[in-house]
């Protein structure tokens, strides 16, 4: 016998390169890089430090929420309420600070609001068996309405004694001229990546998305994990809301309107599967980056802004198309 059983078992079927080429996130990274190279050559205004600063910062809000959404999507769920939760968290922060409380109190209240909404979503989904789509669709409406109630549908742009602190938190660039939101995004992406790859919790999230019944049978605390996952999603929306408030310097009740679709698009472009079981932190960030680069480039190339939706929609379908082609080949 040429090959022993032990050798077969020890054999690695995939090399590093074969795995890389089979990875949707990798191809999206390539697409982003190629687009950037092309734009640097084709336009004078793309590769300027001001434009790069703008792009990187614009990516962050969608990317941060997409990181939270990735957890939900890996379990096979969906969270449509993130845009509204972002708005409500911003509004809670703004109203609290406007009333004269410190920035710490404001942030605490804002995060507590987000976590409470996430817990509510999660409890209904995990323990009462509601479909995630329905619960979070309802919450999309509820949270935005609550934001209107909290502010009486006005624009809040004065944040009390800690006004300046909040603006510099979101709008500053404390390290090497990199916009603060970008730093937060990198930090949160690193944490997300770590949790997904190296913790038991992360492993269980993938298991739930792969086969929820199997996860239950093998003793994975499926219900608790589902609640936590929706809390993480809402928390990421809340954090993005806080940062965005500091950056914009004002909060209106249509902040984050329609954002849930951009966020879901970013995760899907980055390689997450809406059927569950697949998704990465890097994918969420890269997906958000591709969307922003497309948006930015259309402007710079002088293409009518009405075309934006077509190009972004095309990117979503194209990204998933690659995945389908791979699967067709495998099933042949």
């Amino acid at each position: 016998m040429a090959v022993t059983l032990d050798q077969t078992i020890a054999q690695k079927q995939h090399t590093f390169l074969s795995r890389l080429f089979a990875n949707q996130t990798f191809w999206v990274v390539i697409a982003v890089i190629l687009a950037c190279l092309f734009l640097s050559v084709a336009t004078d205004s793309f590769a300027t430090s001001k434009n790069i600063f703008n792009i990187t910062r614009n990516i962050t809000f969608v990317a941060i929420v997409a990181l939270g959404m990735t957890f939900v999507i890996i379990t096979g769920g969906i969270d449509l309420s993130v845009g509204s939760v972002l708005c409500l968290s911003s509004m809670v922060l703004a109203v609290t600070m406007h009333a004269g409380y410190s920035i710490e109190v404001g942030i605490l209240a804002s995060i507590a609001t987000a976590l409470a909404i996430g817990a509510f979503n999660g409890l209904l989904i995990a323990y009462l068996g509601f479909p995630p789509f329905v619960v979070t669709l309802g919450m999309l409406s509820v949270a935005r309405s609550l934001a209107m109630v909290a502010s009486n549908n006005t624009v809040v742009f004065q944040f009390g004694p800690d006004h300046q602190k909040l603006l510099s938190l979101g709008g500053g660039a404390w390290v090497f001229g990199i916009a603060n939101p970008v730093l937060y995004m990198i930090l949160l992406a690193a944490i997300t990546g770590f949790i997904l790859r190296w913790t038991k919790f992360g492993r269980h999230i993938f298991a739930i998305g792969g086969n929820e019944h199997a996860a239950t049978l093998t003793g994975v605390p499926v219900k608790q994990i589902k609640v936590v996952v929706y809390m993480i999603s809402a928390l990421s929306a809340g954090l993005a809301g806080i940062i965005q408030t500091g950056w914009l310097g004002a909060v209106t009740t249509n902040l984050g309107n329609g954002m849930e679709l951009q966020v879901i698009a970013a995760t899907v472009i980055g390689g997450a599967n809406l059927a569950g079981g697949v998704g990465t932190a890097l994918g969420a960030v890269v997906g958000a980056a591709l969307i922003e680069v497309i948006r930015n480039s259309l402007g710079l190339l002088g293409i009518n802004a009405f075309w934006q939706g077509t190009f972004i929609g095309g990117a979503i379908i194209l990204a998933v198309l690659f995945d389908r082609i791979r699967n067709f080949r495998r099933s042949d």
């Binding site: 038991k200 049978l217 093998t218």
Partner: protein, 247 residues
């Protein structure tokens, strides 16, 4: 001493008597085929041993000690492992990840305890080697054959020192060659002194691998005898009711 002893076990759901006054015992290193038609009470009986159901009457004793379980996790703690009919595998995870699902190995301290990939791959590889199955710990279960998937599900039962392994229809819906593989896996478990309960509809498999056969009909045990002293014809008769009962 028997590993597991069931005495006068009954289970009813409302007016329906699913299992009626069943007693039997399991010895270490013994393969018992549990047969019966659909609705005969096999699944209910097994679910009581697996901790899913609480018996309405009767007692279970594990190695001479009274056994009371409230949830499936209790059964696992007592060394009772189940290979589910659908195998309970996650296609998107590796073989090793599936083997360790729900009891992952970790290293480090406190909040920085991270998954110990190396140790899990290594141990899973050893288990597959023990089972003489060509299954690679790093492969995704999605890409595996039916026999390999069975090996993953069975390797799971070997992680802790299992005393009893319950297998629910492990040979349904797989190819002939893979059936032979699975029967070999069962023999390996037996050789390690584990008591195996094989729930099956397939007469040839039971007569191939089991030492004893228990036949259920309408919630009652109608036969419990050595394979050597029985025959497929007799067991068929017992399952259908053509033969009322044998000692």
């Amino acid at each position: 001493m028997s590993v597991l002893e069931l005495a006068n076990i009954s289970k009813h759901f409302g007016a329906i008597q699913a299992v009626n006054d069943v007693s039997f015992s399991l010895e270490a290193g013994e393969v018992v085929g549990l047969m019966g038609d659909n609705g005969a009470g096999k699944s209910t009986l097994v679910k009581m041993i697996a901790g899913n159901f609480h018996p309405s009457h009767g007692t279970m004793r594990l190695e001479g000690k009274d056994l009371v379980m409230h949830k499936p996790a209790d059964a696992r703690q007592h060394g009772i492992e189940i290979v589910h009919q659908d195998l309970a595998l996650c296609n998107n995870l590796t073989a090793a990840a599936n083997v360790y699902l729900g009891r992952e190995l970790r290293r480090g301290f406190g909040p920085l305890r991270i998954l110990d990939y190396g140790a899990m791959y290594k141990r899973a590889g050893q288990l597959f080697a023990e089972l003489k199955s060509e299954t690679r710990p790093r492969d995704l279960v999605k890409q595996m054959s039916g026999g390999q998937r069975q090996a993953v599900a069975i390797a799971r039962t070997m992680l802790s020192q299992a005393k009893i392994v319950l297998m629910d229809e492990p040979t349904a819906a797989i190819s002939v060659r893979q059936v032979a593989e699975v029967l070999n896996l069962i023999r390996h478990l037996r050789d390690q002194g584990i008591a195996v309960v094989l729930i099956s509809h397939r007469m040839p498999d039971v007569f191939d691998v089991a030492d004893r056969v228990i036949v259920m009909r309408r919630g009652r045990k109608v036969a419990d005898k050595k394979i050597a002293s029985s025959s497929p014809e007799e067991v068929t008769g017992l399952i259908t009711g053509a033969i009322e009962q044998v000692a």
